[in-house]
Symmetry: C2
Subunit: 128 residues, 2 copies
């Protein structure tokens, strides 16, 4: 089988997010994607990301650790950003915060089909 | 190089925790282990785990997802347990809760040298 390299695919996916290139999201994300158990599908997933960027205009996805064992990629992402209002129920109000997300992605046919994400809310609480 | 299989090592490490076999912890955890940036060392790491088990007597580590790309293992753990008092600053008071932890482990010479853990606090808040 000619497997695509998931690390490269994943980095291209994050580039797509960092460029806000929503029209290309379907190259990386499956039509039936599930996020934390919620069957969002591509359109719901795109809505989530677009809302994230409205709430956090300077949102940028940076990889701190990447572990690739096909068909699953695990990534530790680091964020340094300024949510405008509330985030995870916390009143941030434009303060710059630094936090991480540990997240797993299952791929099928070169696209993300399932995501299991945990954001370090305790770290954010310690900064506000 | 005769690399040990990190998946097997990691499963044996969790067995060690689930058996509360603290005297064997040093078989799996390096003397200079770092946990979420804190240079605990083996004794500090053991103290952390022993405190966790005092706070949560029915604590059990179960793997939901395991991704192994040496020298790093990423694991999604699922917990179903009843913390006696407060946990992550939340008043649980013996209520049974279900939550996950997404965690990365760097190994060196067959032992855990660094851990990057994020617990899904939002999921717990939704249950209390």
């Amino acid at each position: 089988v000619d497997e695509p390299d998931l690390s490269t695919l994943y980095r291209n996916y994050l580039d797509c997010l960092n460029r806000r290139n929503w029209s290309s999201l379907g190259q990386f994300v499956d039509d039936d994607v599930i996020h934390n158990g919620r069957p969002f599908g591509l359109s719901g997933y795109r809505n989530m990301l677009e809302q994230d960027v409205r709430d956090i205009p300077d949102l940028r996805f940076d990889i701190e650790l990447l572990v690739n064992e096909p068909p699953v990629v695990a990534s530790r992402l680091r964020f340094n950003c300024s949510p405008k209002g509330t985030f995870l129920g916390l009143h941030i109000d434009g303060k710059r915060i630094d936090f991480t997300e540990n997240v797993f992605y299952a791929f099928r046919d070169g696209k993300i089909v399932q995501v299991w994400s945990v954001i370090d809310k305790s770290a954010i609480e310690a900064q506000i």
